[in-house]
C-alpha cells in the first residue's frame, strides 16, 4: 500500500508537469489558418475587374499501405481527374511501403468531390490555392506570377508581395481524433487569419488589351522582335497601360524558355532614348529663357564640341533656322547650340552642364528609380557634371538623347510634366484597393514638390512638340485634337561599339482635347535591324486614335 501511494505521489506530484505536457501534446493541436493571398484588379472604365484570382484546387494522393482496391482508385482518378492525373497511376497506388504518392494535381473542387463520394480507402486530398489569370497573357510583365512556394515573382506580385501575402492565423485547441477543435480545456487560442490586400491597378484592361494588340500588329509589319509601350495619364502619373513583347502566360510560367520574357522592359531596361530627349532640352531652354520657338541659329549640318564633330541625321536644312525647325527636323546641331546657350553661348560650360543635370536628373528625375510598385525597377544613369565623364562632349550628346540611360517610365513621367504645366506626379500602377466589404478605396496621386518647368514654358513646349508632329507625322491623326510627339532613333552597342545597322526606334507623344489626357511612349527593335522613330509612329497613332474614342474626348472647333 505504501509503495502504491509512493508511486502515485511520484507520478501525480513530482512528475505532474511532465504528464500534463504529454497529455497536451496528445490532445492539443495547433492548426494554421491560412490567409488568402490578395487578388489583383485592373480598371475597366473606372470600375475594378479581377485580373488575378485565387482558386481552390486539390492534390489527390494515395497511401499504398491503406489502399484496398487499387483498380478502383486507378479507374476513378483517370476518369474524374482526367488531364490533371499523373502517369502510371497503376504502379503508384501499389508502391509499398511508401505512404504518399501523388496521383493528380490541381484537381478542381467538383472533381475532388466526385472522388470523395466514391469513399475509396487509401485515397487522400490536400487543399491548395493557385493563381488564376482569366485574361491570359494580358499585362503579364506587370502582374508577374506566384511560384510553387507561394512567393510573388516579378511585377506587382513581387513588388507588393508583403501586402498581397497577408498573415496566417492560428487555432490552438483540444481536438478529437478527427481533428475537430473542442472547447474543453483552458488554453485554447484562436488568432484569425488576416487576408492579403486586394490591389487595384491603375492599368485599364481595355487600354492594355488594345496597346498589346497595336504593338503586336505594328511590330509584325516592321519586323521588330522586341517592343514596349507605356500609356500614362499626365494629370495624375497613373500608368494606364504597360506592354512588352514578347510576353508570356503567368499561369504557364514554368514553360517559358527565355527568362527575358518575364522582364518589364519599361522599367527594367535603361537605354539611350535618342532624339525624344530633345523635348526635354527644349523645355529646359524655354524655362531658362535662353530660346523661344522662333530663336534662330546657324545650321551647317555639323557642330564641333572640343575635339569631336557632331552631325545631323537630316542633312541640308542649313542656314539661319528656328529652334522650332531644329526640333521638328530633329537637328542635333540645334540641341548642341541650346546646350551652349545654357552656358556662355559658345561652350557647354560647367554651369550649362550643371543646369542640364539639374533639369534632367533633379527635376525630370531621369536616372533615378521612380519608386513604382513593380519589382525589378532600374535606376539607369545620368552622368553628373561633377564627374570626369560629365564633360562637354558627354553633355553635347545628352542634349539629343545619347550618353544617358533612363528607363521608358522615367522618360514618360518627365515628359508628362513637360506637357501638363510643369507638375511632376510620382508614377504609379496602383489605383487603390478593394476592401473586405467589396468597396473600391482609391489612392490619391502624389504630386512632388517644386515642379519641373513653369506653366508658360510648358505651354510653349507643348506647342513646339505639337508642331513637330504636325509637320511630318500627323497624317493619320483624328482631326480636331491636340496631339504632339517626337521621334527618336538610337544606335545600339554591338561588340562595344555603336552601330547604325542596329537601332532602336522610339516615339514619345501626348494627346488630348483642352488639356493633355494621355502620354504614350513606344519603343521597338530587332537584332541586326535599323529601326527608327518613324517606324514606330504608326503604333503611337493607332493607340492615340483609339484613346480618343475610348476616353470620349471632344474635338476642338
Amino acid at each position: 500500500m505504501a509503495l502504491f501511494v509512493a508511486r502515485l505521489f511520484y507520478m501525480q506530484i513530482i512528475q505532474h508537469d511532465r504528464y500534463v505536457a504529454a497529455a497536451e501534446q496528445e490532445q492539443v493541436k495547433s492548426l494554421v489558418v491560412k490567409a488568402d493571398r490578395g487578388e489583383i484588379y485592373a480598371l475597366d472604365n473606372g470600375k475594378p475587374v479581377k485580373l488575378v484570382l485565387n482558386e481552390n484546387v486539390y492534390t489527390v494522393f494515395a497511401d499504398p499501405i491503406e489502399v484496398k482496391d487499387p483498380e478502383a482508385i486507378t479507374k476513378a482518378v483517370k476518369e474524374i481527374a482526367g488531364g490533371t492525373a499523373v502517369k502510371d497511376i497503376e504502379k503508384l497506388v501499389v508502391d509499398k511501403p511508401s505512404r504518399y504518392k501523388i496521383l493528380a494535381k490541381n484537381v478542381s473542387r467538383n472533381q475532388a468531390k466526385l472522388l470523395r463520394e466514391k469513399q475509396l480507402a487509401g485515397l487522400g486530398f490536400q487543399k491548395t490555392t493557385r493563381r488564376i489569370h482569366p485574361e491570359g497573357k494580358l499585362a503579364s510583365q506587370v502582374l508577374g506570377f506566384v511560384n510553387a512556394e507561394g512567393v510573388g515573382q516579378y511585377g506587382i506580385e513581387e513588388g507588393l508581395d508583403d501586402q498581397l501575402t497577408g498573415t496566417d492565423g492560428m487555432l490552438k485547441s483540444v481536438t478529437d481524433v478527427r481533428n475537430v477543435p473542442l472547447t474543453v480545456g483552458n488554453n485554447n487560442v484562436r488568432v484569425p487569419a488576416k487576408d492579403g490586400k486586394n490591389v487595384v491597378l491603375s492599368i485599364d484592361r481595355n487600354i492594355q488589351a488594345y496597346t498589346e494588340k497595336a504593338l503586336y500588329d505594328e511590330m509584325k509589319k516592321i519586323g521588330a522582335t522586341k517592343g514596349s509601350v507605356i500609356v500614362m495619364d499626365p494629370q495624375s502619373g497613373k500608368v494606364l497601360s504597360m506592354a512588352n513583347l514578347p510576353d508570356y502566360n503567368p499561369e504557364k510560367y514554368t514553360t517559358v524558355m527565355n527568362g527575358a520574357a518575364f522582364n518589364n522592359s519599361v522599367i527594367t531596361a535603361p537605354y539611350e532614348p535618342g532624339s525624344v530627349i530633345k523635348t526635354f532640352t527644349v523645355a529646359t531652354a524655354l524655362d531658362k529663357g535662353v530660346i523661344t520657338p522662333t530663336s534662330k541659329f546657324n545650321n551647317s549640318d555639323t557642330i564641333s564640341v572640343e575635339d569631336i564633330v557632331i552631325k545631323n541625321a537630316n542633312l541640308g536644312i542649313t542656314g539661319d533656322i528656328t529652334m522650332q525647325a531644329a526640333l521638328s527636323w530633329s537637328l542635333n546641331t540645334g540641341m548642341v547650340t541650346i546646350a551652349q546657350r545654357l552656358g556662355d553661348g559658345k561652350n557647354i560650360t560647367y554651369d550649362a552642364r550643371k543646369t542640364m543635370y539639374t533639369y534632367l536628373h533633379d527635376k525630370f528625375k531621369l536616372g533615378e528609380k521612380t519608386g513604382i510598385e513593380l519589382a525589378g525597377e532600374q535606376a539607369g544613369n545620368i552622368i553628373s557634371p561633377d564627374t570626369v565623364q560629365g564633360n562637354a562632349v558627354r553633355y553635347s550628346n545628352m542634349s539629343f538623347g545619347q550618353g544617358m540611360n533612363p528607363t521608358m517610365l522615367q522618360v514618360a513621367s518627365g515628359f508628362s510634366s513637360i506637357v501638363n504645366g510643369g507638375r511632376y506626379y510620382k508614377p504609379t500602377v496602383v489605383a487603390g484597393e478593394v476592401t473586405s466589404d467589396g468597396s473600391f478605396k482609391k489612392t490619391n496621386s502624389t504630386l512632388l514638390d517644386g515642379g519641373t518647368i513653369s506653366q508658360e514654358s510648358s505651354d510653349t513646349a507643348r506647342d513646339m512638340i505639337r508642331e513637330a508632329r504636325n509637320q511630318f507625322y500627323a497624317e493619320g491623326d483624328k482631326p480636331g485634337y491636340d496631339i504632339g510627339g517626337k521621334t527618336g532613333t538610337s544606335e545600339t552597342l554591338v561588340d562595344d561599339s555603336y552601330t547604325e545597322d542596329q537601332t532602336v526606334g522610339t516615339y514619345l507623344g501626348y494627346g488630348g482635347d483642352t488639356a493633355p489626357k494621355y502620354v504614350i511612349m513606344v519603343q521597338a527593335s530587332a537584332p541586326g535591324k535599323a529601326l527608327g522613330g518613324r517606324d514606330v509612329v504608326p503604333i503611337f497613332t493607332s493607340i492615340s486614335n483609339w484613346m480618343i474614342d475610348y476616353m470620349k474626348l471632344q474635338p476642338k472647333g
Binding site: N56, N110, E135, T183, V184, N206
Partner: protein, 114 residues
C-alpha cells in the same frame, strides 16, 4: 404589596446559556457511517454526471459549430469557383470571341455631340 418569582422561572434561568437550544429532539432514523459514505459517493456521482452532461453538451456544440464552419468553407469555395468562372466568361478574349461580338459591326462614322 410584594411580588414573588415563580418557581419555574427560577429553575430555567438557573440552567440556560446564550445560544443554546433549550429543547432537543432526537431523530427516529439513525444513519450509520456506511450510509453516509454511500450518500457522499452518490452526491459525487451526481455532480460528475452534471459535469459530464455539460461537457458533452459543449462538445456537441463544437461538432455543430464545426459542421457550420465546414458548410461556410464549402460555400466560400463554391463562391470562389463561380467568381473564377465569371472572370473567365467575362474576360476580354472570351467576349471578343463570343457570337454577339462577332456579329457586331464597326461604326462607319463617329459624330460628336456638342
Amino acid at each position: 404589596m410584594t411580588y414573588q418569582r415563580s418557581t419555574t422561572y427560577n429553575r430555567r434561568s438557573g440552567s440556560m446559556r446564550r445560544n443554546q437550544n433549550s429543547v432537543a429532539y432526537s431523530s427516529a432514523v439513525k444513519l450509520g457511517p456506511v450510509t453516509h459514505t454511500v450518500l457522499v459517493a452518490l452526491m459525487i456521482t451526481v455532480l460528475g454526471l452534471i459535469y459530464l452532461t455539460q461537457a458533452t453538451k459543449a462538445t456537441a456544440y463544437d461538432y455543430e459549430a464545426q459542421g457550420i464552419d465546414d458548410k461556410i468553407a464549402e460555400m466560400q469555395s463554391e463562391k470562389t469557383d463561380l467568381e473564377v468562372e465569371n472572370a473567365r466568361l467575362t474576360a476580354l478574349e472570351a467576349v471578343q470571341d463570343s457570337a454577339v461580338a462577332k456579329s457586331m459591326e464597326a461604326p462607319k462614322e463617329t459624330n460628336n455631340l456638342r
